[in-house]
Amino acid sequence: MLRLNLVLVFLLVVCALGLVTSQDRARKLFGDVERAHAQASRLEVQWDQLQIEQTVLAKASRIDTKARRELSMESISPQRTLHLVVDPVERVVRLGSTAPAEAAGAR
C-alpha cells in the first residue's frame, strides 16, 4: 500500500513538472508566434510602402519629363519607324508594311 502511494506521488510530481514545462514552452512559442505576426505585418506595411514608392518613381509623367529633359529623347514617330513582322510560317523576320519616309503619300 505504502509502495503504491509512493509510486503515485512520484507520478504526480512528474506530471506536475510536465505541466509546468509544457505551459512554459507554450508561452514561449506563443511569444514567437506573436513576434512572427508582428514582423509579418511590419513587412506587409513595408511592402505597401515600397509599392507606392515604386509607383511614384515609375510614374509615366515623371519618366516622360526625365526622358525628354535629361536624356533628350523624343517620342517615336512613324517616319523613323521600321516595323518588323515575324512570318508565322517561315519564322523569319522581314520588313513590315510601313516603309520609311519615301513611301509618303504613295497611294
Partner: protein, 586 residues
Amino acid sequence: MARRTRRNVPIASNPLLQVRLPAYRSQLVMLFVAVAFVALAARTVWLQVFSQGYLQQQGELRYGRTIELPASRGKIFDRNGVVLASSLPARAVWAIPEQVEATPQQFAELAKLLGTSERELRGRLAQAADRSFVYLKRQVDADVAERVAALRIAGIHQQREYKRHYPQGETIAHVVGFTNVEDIGQEGVELAKNPDLAGKPGSRRVIRDRYGRVVENVEAVREPHNGRDLALSIDSTIQFLAFDALRDAVHEHKAKAGAAVVLDVHTGEILALANWPTYNPNERGQLTGAQLRNRAITDTFEPGSTMKPFTAALALELGQVRPDTVIQTAPGRLKIGSATIGDAHPHGLLTIEQIVQKSSNVGTAKMALAMPAERMWEMFSSVGLGQAPRIGFPGAVAGRLRPYRSWKPIEQATMSYGYGLSVSLLQLARAYTVFATDGELLPVSMFKHDDAVGGERIVTPATARAVRHMLELAAGPGGTAPQAQISGYRVAGKTGTAHKRDGRQYVNKYIASFVGFAPVSDPRVIVAVMIDEPTAGKYYGGTVAAPVFARIAGDTLRTLRVPPDSTVVKLEVPTSAAGHDAGAAL
C-alpha cells in the same frame, strides 16, 4: 545516580505519560483540526464553484485586454497592376488639454513636427481646455508620429489609423476618387466600391503579463477581413497620354475644361478617362466643384454633329437611302415651319457619304424628316442615349432624350444633327462602338475583365461598315477633320461643334468634340474628346478636338503595339478644313 536511572528508563514508562488524561481533550483537538479542514474545503468550494465567474472576471479585468485587429482597405490597381490607391498606417495625434505639460523647447519641437506654429497649437489647446479630448493632427505619417512620441510629452497621445496614398496623383484623380480621414470613400471608385474596399476589423481577447506582453489568447480570435483589391480597366500609361494631350489642348485653346475617354473596342473596357481641370488627391486643401467633376461621366452637353452618323445609319437601315444617294443641300439653308436651319458652308448636291463627310446640317435634316420620329427615337435610345450607362460609378448621368410623341418637325430635324438632346462624353464614346464593331453596342466597364463581350446588335454589319467608311472620309483630307489623321493608321471619326446654351438662348460659346476610332481595318480603340469653351480663336471640333484625338489615338495604338494598317506616314492636312480632293491619302 538518579540521572543514570532516568536515562535508562524507556519512554513508555515515563511517568509523565502515565498520567491519564481525559479522552475528550484529544477528541476536541481532532475536532478543531477537522473543522479547520472542513472550513478550508468549504472556502475552496466557495471560490472554485460559486464565485468562479466573478473572480475570473476580476482577473481578466486586471490582465485581459481586447486588442483591435485593424483591417486594411483594399488597394486599387490599374489593369497592369500599377498601384492607384493604397493605404499606409498613420497616426492621429491627440491630447488631453489639461494634462499637457511641456517645456517651451518641447512645445516648439512638437509644433514643428505637426507642421503648425507654436501659437496656433497653444490656441488649439486653450480653446479645448474644458474638453478631455482634442485632435492635434490627423493622418500623421508613421515616422513623424514616432518622433512626436519620442518627445515624451505628458498628455499627448496617439491613435492608429490609415492614410490613403494616391501615387498617380492628378492624372487619374477623377476615376479613383478619394477617402476622408475616416477611411470612407467620398468620390469616384473609392465611393462606388466602398463596401468592397473597406475591410472589417477583427478583435481578439488576450491576457497580458505585467510587462505588457501578450501571454495567451482568451477567446477565439475574430479574424479581421481585409478589403478586397480592385483592378480597374484603366491603363495608367494610356491614361497619362490622354491626360497630357488633354491638358496641353485646354491650355493651348484657353478652354474652360476638357475631357477625354479611351475605350477598348474588343472588351468595352475604359482604358483612360481624363478630365481637366483636376486636383491632387493627396493634397486636398481647397477643392472646387469644377475640379472635382468627372466631366466625361457627370456632365452632359449637346453633342452636335457627332450624332449625324446615327441619323445616316438609320436612314440606311430603313432602306430610304444608299450611301451614294444624292440629296440637294443648296442653298445651305432649310426652312422648317417658322425656323430656318443652315450649314456653316453651303454645299450643293451631296451624296449621303458626303453629307457625313462635310457635316451638312441641311442634308442630315432632310434625311431625318423623311423617317418616322418613333424610329429615330428608338435608334437614339438603343445606342444608350437618355439612359445612364451601367458602369457602377457614382453620378453617371442619363442625358436628355425626350419622348418622340412630343417632337415637333423642327426638333426632329435639329436632333438629327445633335441639338435638343444631351449626352455625356462616355455615352457618346459608347454609342460609337456600334460603328467600331460591326453594328453591336458594347457594354462599357470601368473594371478589368479580359473576355471579349457580346454586344447588342443595333444595325446590320453592312450598315456599320458603310457608316465606318463615311467616318473615314470625314477624318480624311476632304472631310471636316483632316487633323484627326494619324500617320501609320487609318482613322475614322466625326467632329462636333456645338453652341452652348445659356438658359434657353444659344450663345457664342462652343463645345468642340471629336469621337473616332482606329485603325479602321480592325478597330481597336475609340477615343472621344471634348473641349469646353475654347477661347483662343479656334473653336471647330476639327481644329480643336481632332488634333487631340490624333495624338491620343496614335500614342495609344503604339502603346498597345497595334500593327499599322496604312502605308501613309506623311499626312496631308489641307489648310481649309473642307477643301482639296479626298483621294490623296486615304
